[in-house]
């Protein structure tokens, strides 16, 4: 489904996501300092946009917000990654050519590809629309429903969001074990459980703290934090990774962070 079609479908189902401030930053509130454009690296400034019910509105085009090279780059103070023998063996044998992302498969959670992505928020759903790698979407239900019972394992899992003040707490289960957390190849099992605490403290940033819980792969849970930056004035473009993928066959050596 195209972004336009998905957007239209959501609007038909839910009505427009009303905002008191322009969540995408295209027209900052009067008097608010102007932020940088997408390619200017400055973080746009301004107040937190809000929905009609007063909850923060995370809508907008974002860049970053999750691990790319190595998940350890986002470790919060005092946190550490402690592999089980099961996951250490997997990491030690992973080859970069087998990275699902290099083979045009989704990043899963919490990994982010180095391409823009859009959040589309309604009163009941939040959609992450990814431009790149792959051109797909993740959905978070914020309508009060419980998790699926015995969900099928999927790339983005079954995500349920609840509000804790201005923080959206997203609880996700039902992952498959196919995606990697990063170029380094940090693994996980189907028992992966993530708890994300997402805040938009101002117009230009989205702070995403993620607790990784997976007793098969890690001896203890750990927390990471990454910040996405708003790209005002940007639009998503089509990106069909499978169209002319020639890289995987040329990738050499063990998995590892970018060099």
């Amino acid at each position: 489904m195209t972004v336009v079609a998905l957007t239209a479908a959501v609007l038909l189902l839910q009505g427009p996501a009303d905002s008191q401030a322009p969540a995408d930053g295209k027209a900052p509130p009067k008097g608010a300092p102007k932020g940088g454009k997408g390619k200017g690296k400055a973080r746009p400034t301004g107040p937190t946009p809000r929905m009609a019910d007063g909850k923060p509105d995370f809508s907008g085009i974002w860049n970053g917000g999750g691990p790319i090279g190595d998940i350890a780059q986002g470790l919060m103070p005092g946190e550490e990654i402690s592999l089980t023998p099961w996951s250490k063996k997997i990491m030690d044998t992973r080859l970069t050519k087998d990275d699902p992302e290099a083979n045009c498969l989704p990043t899963g959670v919490p990994r982010i590809a180095p391409y823009p992505w859009r959040i589309l928020q309604t009163q009941t759903h939040i959609f992450y629309l990814f431009e790149g790698n792959i051109h797909s979407f993740r959905q978070i239900f914020i309508d009060g429903r419980p998790h699926l019972k015995d969900p099928d394992p999927t790339w983005y899992g079954d995500s349920i969001g609840t509000w804790d003040g201005d923080t959206l707490v997203v609880d996700t289960i039902g992952f498959n074990d196919k995606f990697w957390f990063d170029f380094s190849g940090h693994p996980h099992s189907e028992q992966l459980h993530t708890i994300e605490r997402i805040t938009r403290p101002d117009l230009g940033g989205l702070d995403i703290e993620t607790q990784i819980i997976d007793p098969i792969a890690y001896t203890k849970p750990f927390k990471i934090k990454f910040t996405a930056t708003l790209r005002p004035g940007e639009e998503l473009m089509e990106y069909i990774c499978q169209e002319n993928q020639q890289d995987a066959q040329h990738l050499q050596g063990p998995a590892g962070p970018p060099r």
């Binding site: 390619k39 090279g69 992302e101 790149g132 473009m237 990106y239 169209e243 002319n244 060099r259």
Partner: protein, 131 residues
Amino acid sequence: MSAKALILAASLGALMTVPMLAHHSFGSEYDEKKPLKFENVTVTKLEWTNPHARFYVDVKDEKGKVTNWNFELASPNVLKRNGWTKNTLKEGDKVTVLGTAAKDGTSLGHAQTVISDGKRLFAGSNTADGN
């Protein structure tokens, strides 16, 4: 390509020293110790495709043997955001390519800069902060 876009593209060339990221690990495919420079070579084909745009050039060695090299560019979206269009490079263009050779020894390279009609075009994949 407009003059503004060319200036933008040229200025982005300064980002070349930043580790480049795409949908795969750059350093796993290309060897930074193998820089390439092909001068005044002819573009034989352009593929305006994902995950990377590509162009092919015929390169003649000292013995006169011609090899067709495959050069990876950034994705079309990244190139467009950096001022390129699908017509910036086309078959028959004479270009100079600055890039990096693949680790596996095939006639594959990653183009960081393309000099076309005397203008330097930044061509690389996403930088660490995602464009």
